[in-house]
């Protein structure tokens, strides 16, 4: 298990991702209207997909934590939010790079873009909260509450912004693009997914180790943190 996560998974991810990107950049035909610019799709779309996967994991883990507290769930929540935020930000940047030659602007107040921007701010707030609460048990509970509320908000944001202002093309899925592009998109997406799983695993192990260190050795924390975090942090096992 350990060896596969450390070496096998990243190797698999890189090979599949390299294959997907080669297919996308060299093998698949250029878009009829957008030309070669469209090839950023093989990066942008998989990034957005895996960001959504990470955020969905975060939501499920947050609910699970409130039902049954465990450091593993808390570590998974921290890992998925952080990785989701990084992937979502990369997805948004690649989208802006695509938007400039295609729509003529980097940014528009389109519902999908606006909702994603709000999502990124929401999860930034979530991660800031995690940094600002020292007691590991309170941090876990509060951040679960914030994660759930933040996730519930996203459909509402999407809906309200759509009413408020309505340029994003229909999302690309294997159904809406040319069959030759489909293969490249699918392979790239799987490569990105494997990479994400690897990231998640690594970050999860790191977060779990941090939690265990915090609980086992509250005195080892900086002095002002220990006062808040040491008192009742041993209840959750």
């Amino acid at each position: 298990m350990g060896k596969f996560i450390k070496w096998g998974l990243p190797a698999l991810a890189l090979v599949v991702l390299a294959a997907g990107w080669w297919l996308g950049l060299a093998w698949a035909p250029p878009d009829r209207e957008m030309g070669d610019v469209q090839r950023i799709m093989y990066v942008h779309v998989p990034l957005q997909w895996v960001a959504m996967v990470a955020m969905a994991i975060n939501f499920v883990v947050a609910i699970s934590y409130l039902m049954k507290a465990s450091w593993k769930l808390d570590a998974a929540a921290e890992a998925s939010a952080e990785i989701g935020l990084v992937l979502g930000t990369a997805g948004m940047i690649t989208g802006a790079i695509w938007g400039r030659p295609t729509w003529g602007v980097y940014w528009s107040w389109d519902p999908r873009l606006t909702s994603q921007a709000i999502m990124l701010v929401t999860y930034t707030g979530y991660l800031v909260l995690r940094r600002f609460v020292e007691d590991p048990e309170k941090r876990a509970t509060w951040s679960s509450v914030v994660a759930i509320i933040g996730a519930i908000n996203l459909p509402i944001v999407w809906f309200s912004v759509r009413w408020w202002r309505s340029l994003h093309q229909v999302q690309s899925t294997p159904k809406t693009v040319d069959p030759e592009m489909t293969l490249a998109l699918r392979v790239s997406a799987f490569g990105m997914l494997f990479l994400t799983i690897w990231f998640l695993m690594l970050r999860y192990r790191q977060a779990l180790a941090e939690r265990q260190a915090e609980v086992a050795l509250p005195d080892a924390l900086p002095s002002d943190l220990a006062a808040a975090g040491g008192a009742n942090s041993t209840r959750v096992a």
Partner: protein, 233 residues
Amino acid sequence: MSTSRPRPIGLLTATLALLRKDLLIEWRTRARLNAIIFFALATLLMFSFALGPDTKLLEKNAGGYFWLAILFASVLALGESFRVESENACMDGIRLAPADARAIFLSKALGNTLLLTALGVLLVPVMVALYGVRIVTSVVDLGLILLLGSLALSAPGTVYAAISSNARARDVLLPLLLFPLVIPALLSAAKATTLVLQGDPMRQFDSWAGLLGGFNLIYWGVGFLLFPRIIED
């Protein structure tokens, strides 16, 4: 919940008792209300300076500025509503009362709603004077939006204020958590207010009020369910 504990008083009784206590504290000092009124007034004034002397532009955007002033003031009001409980370990006292934790949520959220609605009522004449707007459709509509908007800021705001009041850097944390969350509420409240001030030929008011109502239902429900987990110790 253990069975040996004495049966706690009803939710409604506890809520009203807590609300009464909060309002009494507020009435005795009036510090919070005064602070947020002058803060909101200053904000409304600052918007006009930031925009320059173009009165047409001010009039057109008045609904948005009105709600931004209330939003900024709400951060102060919400933060303060839990700061009073942190003095002398009041929160621990309430929890030991034994009051239902959900009553604490309801009383705090209702208290904040009252405060923000009162603030809004005071700001409307100022907005009329400063920005040269007039109420085109009806005062009732404006009142309804004011109430719905204050409710919509208060429910998630109370949950997040309870969290951030116990965290480090609480003054940064509350707006960081609250602002992205209340975007749908801010958007629909500002839009509906603009319709009241500028006329509503397409009858869009009801949809925005409906959206705001839905937002309220969701967050009063979620807050009611999740708040006990936040203040448990």
